[in-house]
Subunit: 474 residues, 4 copies
């Protein structure tokens, strides 16, 4: 993750992890969340049950800050769910940390952890408040909790289905009770959620990299509209929405997911290298070196370099030790050339024609800064190649893109952007190139991706009021 | 830097930074030290003078932990020196944090910061204590302070020269007084130390990456046996030892220095790529993918891949969020496959013949673990290529190699090591290959490198007693 | 407050503070809470409104730990309520920290702070959960929030009255909205709550000592069953329960309240001195010195000494620096005489007949320890005088007495207790003596006090199930 | 201790504790230092030896903050010394925390802890620096370390004596080596230092209250000019200065020492009560209530009240929870009457003639504020009685009196002071009254006290330069 105070970029979202029936459930959830840390650094939490009662701990901070040996020790039980959070909707408050734990007359204790964003959360919340509901947090997850609590359905399974049918948006959802683990994914499968096996224990994770870390084996992805119930009777799959083909968020491949994760069987690093190769096919250029903006563009840059036969070099270096408390240089010092966390390597780029690969352009300010950095370090030409199409539309599914007014590609042609960032040339990957490079199975008209931020075709209804709220607040 | 609790590896050492006559001296030192953070994460400190008195702050922790805005604000002055420390000699105590500040009747206030290690520190300390000296720290730097304080020389310059002539070992040294900045390097130039210019202000740094960060221009390296005096009369160069050709520590190129630093005009990333290319020339292999152990071996791996025409892939992934407080998995969980910070990417290596590039083998335990990880992820063959010669001898100049008994190459042939680590093939780079690949100017018999850890030919005398102490204690 | 880990004692409860229409509302609440710190050290919180929206901060810790200058600075507004908490019901969780802030469709944002304990909270909670309510905390205050939220009443005032009429128990309640401050007290006035004036601003506080600290003038106590509404139209008093004569918790006078507070116009220190004087009248004794168990028994001890004409001495000394992180001596060291925070002063008690005044006996273990301490320090006789009647019944109104089985006076006669604690004589103050000494105005049959822990006559109904729960869990 | 940021007052100094030959030496030192916490809250430290090597830990903060269970656990050994520090000479730096540990060729490892202040420290330091000594701290203790280190004496005992003979000033000194514990007191016995026995183990402490806490028995005071050596051969007493009668600092009785400590067999609380009684004898007054400024004047106030037959009341209350991080009210709020930590109790003083007892007047600002507070609370008359003579001269022995210009009694007559502080009457105790009330044995012309701050008769020579330095800097 690049530092949001410096670079304009897409904000990552959340990660969930769950495990059922393992004596080391809490420790494994700790390592699993740690592997998902890149999906959210704001808060972390684990809830666990030993079958008779819950224990949980949530706090602001990284997984290894939130959980000390003492705290882990105090969390006993064999079924656990965990969450790492980067706030999109909802302020950065401890009360928004997940899992959300509550008690309800019908179902007893419940813990919820979700990754994603509802499109109709505010509308649902207003309706619930009119009926006397008391909300403590500003997170979407609490809306789901209230819907479940208010259901008159005879079983938890039915109550959850009833609740999910009222939701519009993207979500991967884990629900823990003393007796069961429920797992669901939104009807379009916008966020990844995988199922694995560790010995006899079922494991669920936003990304498969967590399976590798805990030594679990990948079984399959949770399906769009699927609700899994795991309890004493084993694993049962049911549906709360008609089968639809999956439209997974493209940016999971492009930027969010860890390179060692697979999404629906496609490795992310490999997909990124393909994006780089495809990008070279679509927009070749004569140059001396290829460099990527670390760390997220490294794979695409290597792919581009290999396809082009141009050496891949570390033309840009990131300081690994920039922490959250780093003191920013004053404007005065910044103007004098003090850099913070990214610097160009003079010896590598001096006198060279440089291809700079980045994964996306949001506002354009970072790109302009990096191009400038490369020129100051002596690059004779800077050719920018972006391994995704231009981002023109806001995301309502949990990605903190800027609002449309701030998206440079929403208001400018590629040529205008090239001029603004000061590059010698600039090319974005085409949507078709993206689809082909990733290589997801395509069914009928469905390309297997959500491309809404590129083409504005949202897979769900978009609540107009909510949409304005999102646009307004960002 | 890889995590010492997990991997056996060479420990990095210290970094120094100094700037003379700049209104933002302290802020720039902060950013400079931040760029040198990879050279030492144990403690950090800055001493500054406004010409009339000193202020300083030192504490355990990373630069951005040690210095808060309030603390930086309180450090006023235009000439400053700073230090980041990884303990080699001397325990991990706050009292060992540098710069060391003391007061002396002859020269008033002094602050010292050094990078390196003296070979005769204990002997000098004993002699000084017999004369009634009181030592507060266990660091070598205090020995230098006492030698300066006890000198009867008429000027600080003479006193420093007198002191330096009693030292044997490796050091880059900065001395701050209210009136002057003194800079020296040991007679063999074992540790890098560069001089730059930022506007009118002279800047000194262990590595040139700090110049890029603060916007300074590189002038030249400080010479072996050179003592620079910077005061009201400007910059004066003198010598305290006869001119000798430099024997810079090879591991600065191989592993320690940041890839964007230059040492004597040679870029470190470029040197590492050459090491990789040379390694392929010396030990070609048929394979499907090349991967490097992140992060230090990435450059060499790319060089190898380019020379070989084999794709470079991210076959090994490191979790960036492993902090110092991370909870280690129990032996039990480790055996079940829980990984902590490095994991192999199954989709990348499965069914492939893998070349794994690493920069060095110290005890061999890490290499064995990584080879095993790759095999478990499905690699059909694992060929290990090391971009340095076998480490057979202890370093006495500030690198925390293990003692000789623990160095696997000191007791085993490459073939035996191959068997121990379980690789299909293993080749180390030859010393000649190292020298050629880096490409330092060679004068007479001197190759420009210290290769003592490979060939046991130490450039300085080695105090037998000290040597035993080092061997014994490690 | 004495340290609960060492001494068995009554646990203090909570404190509330509110101020309406003052530019320094937050700072004044900070100082007010600070003056109420003795009523709760577990967590502290402030919610404030500027008329358009809320800001709040709550955290575990003392007032001066929870609020830094930065945090106070961020809390802008002219009407604020604050809370300090010592958990009685509800676990020690951050989520239980008050004020409780929530949003509701009918009334917008609300913040609640309460001091006290409901007797029928669990029953209400169950009913609410059956109706689909989602509870986040284990505190009684959330029950009140839900009752208000679910009311169909046309105004907040009516909704609050409706809610309060469903509550049984003890409470002083502050409710903040963007437009108004509502203040209520339970129908028996079990917990103190006073109203004051600071310039034009109304101030409310659990104790009047906070008025002195902020420079406010005392106006009157909030009446049992009174609901005050303060908004744009000024101050309006209404009733939600018929007028009843107040039955204030006796232990507020005996032990809880700060000596400089007045409760219904009676100063607490003065009341305690009277208790001491009355105790001498009821149980005179020949002795050489009178000493009190610091700090809570000092006033009674001085009263006793003055009445008896026996010198008052510091025969017992408390270490002021015992913090929450103090390391307890091992059993082994304790047996060897290592004391932690209370020690007897040998020179004062040696060879003397000592009267030791304490405010109450709960389990008896502390008294035994102190008597023993005095004897070891050389006291020839130890006469214990307790400035309250024997505590025989559990409190359901927010005081954490032990459960009845653990109350020594519930199971033993005074003579048996004397033997257990090893005193030469022991007398408790009589209930009549208590009533006379405090000197509250008495109306009809009502003595003005709640004496339930002494005589078991609870002023409210006690829910049998809840009562069992309380007994069971403690 | 009152808060120095609010009240002008005498600053307390340091405390030392040592124990030889006890398996729980470190834990006992921890509890001992905790009992001495009132003598210094800035830093704390413990050094311990197991006979073969030292371990030590020092840090800024209170004893219970500095020492965690882990840290205590790591300090193994049976002979320990400890220190709590309030800085007088020397800035508030961690490096000044004691015990000071150093290594010396002749005597091996040494740890020093001192309570007191040298009058000739700067002069000695200059001389030592001229000889090449390197000073790390600004504390007097390091001067002693250097003198010992430079001695050519054949034994540690002789070296220490030689060093002590060069010192002028007040000190209680503990020296720890691997083989021995050395204990010394300055030739005038200005600071208290007592010896006790805990089983077979000798214990030393600045105050006897620490003996009570650890269960040790008081043996005797260390004598002026005495050097005790405790080693394998047992306890040996020797002298480094001729026997002189003790001149203990009067303020130990008046203000510094804990009421439960004895100094030379006289209990401090009892002495303070006598001061109060004597004060009434010397300056009787008709009044309704007597109150003391908490906490240090409580004993004197009770003594005064008993002698006068006037009731003692809590007319002034201190908030116990004022910590070091408390946010001070702005000037604006202070003017509006916001109090921080001391408040008058209206119900107690309203309409009453009040005698207010305080232990001393330094600058007079606090007294004025308290008199004013009492009047605002309704006192009709305020008679101030001070249980010590007027402080007219600076202390050079470790008490941070203001410099003479700031001492109100140095520049004003009692009548002028009365007017300044706004009292109806004001009387100071006479020096004769002080001497009689405390009741120390008097020999010849020596009254047994140092009264220098009252009469300017310093028991030691005062270095004129140092004296100016002290006057100047304060």
């Amino acid at each position: 993750m690049r530092d949001e105070s410096v670079f304009d970029e897409l904000k990552e979202e959340c990660g969930v992890f769950g495990i059922l029936g393992h004596p080391d459930a809490v420790q494994l959830t700790y390592y699993g969340l740690h592997a998902l840390q890149h999906r959210g650094q704001e808060s972390a939490g684990i809830a666990v049950t030993d079958g008779t009662g819950f224990r949980y701990h949530r706090s602001m901070g990284l997984v290894n800050e939130v959980f000390t040996p003492d705290i882990l020790e105090g969390l006993k039980g064999s079924t656990a769910i965990g969450h790492v959070r980067y706030s999109t909707t909802g302020e950065s408050l401890l009360t928004n940390a997940q899992p959300l734990v509550f008690h309800n007359a019908v179902v007893g204790q419940l813990a919820l952890a979700t990754n994603g964003n509802l499109v109709n959360a505010n509308r649902l919340k207003e309706e619930l408040e009119e009926q006397g509901a008391v909300f403590h947090t500003t997170s979407d997850t609490e809306v789901i909790a209230h819907l479940i609590a208010r259901s008159d359905a005879p079983s938890l399974e039915e109550a959850v289905k009833e609740a999910l049918n009222q939701l519009t948006g993207a979500y991967a959802l884990l629900i823990l009770t003393n007796d069961a683990l429920l797992v669901a994914q939104d009807p379009h499968g916008l966020r990844p959620l995988s199922m694995g096996l560790l010995g006899d224990a079922y494991v669920f994770s936003s990304e498969t990299c967590a399976f590798d870390v805990v030594g679990a084996e990948y079984l399959r992805g949770v399906q769009p509209g699927e609700l899994l119930i795991l309890d004493r009777d084993g694993l049962r799959s049911s549906r709360f929405a008609p089968p639809a083909s999956r439209a997974v968020c493209s940016f999971e491949y492009i930027y969010f997911a860890r390179p060692d994760s697979d999404i629906d069987g496609i490795n992310v690093h490999t997909a990124r290298k393909s994006l780089g190769r495809k990008l070279y096919e679509e927009a070749p250029v004569e140059a001396d070196v290829v460099t990527g903006v670390p760390d997220s563009s490294t794979s695409a840059a290597i792919g581009f370099a290999e396809a082009a036969g141009i050496p891949y070099e570390l033309g840009l270096i990131k300081n690994r030790y920039v922490g959250r408390t780093f003191i920013q240089p004053s404007q005065h010092l910044r103007e004098q050339g003090v850099k913070m966390k990214l610097s160009a390597v003079r010896k590598v780029v001096e006198g060279k024609r440089v291809v700079m690969i980045d994964d996306s352009i949001v506002r354009g300010t970072t790109s302009r800064r990096i191009v400038n950095m490369l020129r100051e370090a002596g690059a004779t030409e800077v050719h920018v190649r972006i391994s995704s199409p231009p981002v023109k539309y806001s995301c309502f599914y949990g990605i903190d893109t800027a609002n449309r007014k701030q998206l440079i590609a929403s208001n400018h042609s590629p040529e205008e952007i090239r001029e603004i960032i000061g590059a010698d040339s600039l090319t974005f990957l085409s949507p078709e190139g993206l689809i082909q490079a990733v290589g997801r199975p395509q069914e009928n008209a469905n390309c297997g991706h959500c491309l809404a931020c590129f083409d504005g075709k949202y897979p769900t209804e978009i609540d107009e009021e909510e949409s304005l709220a999102v646009e307004g607040k960002r």
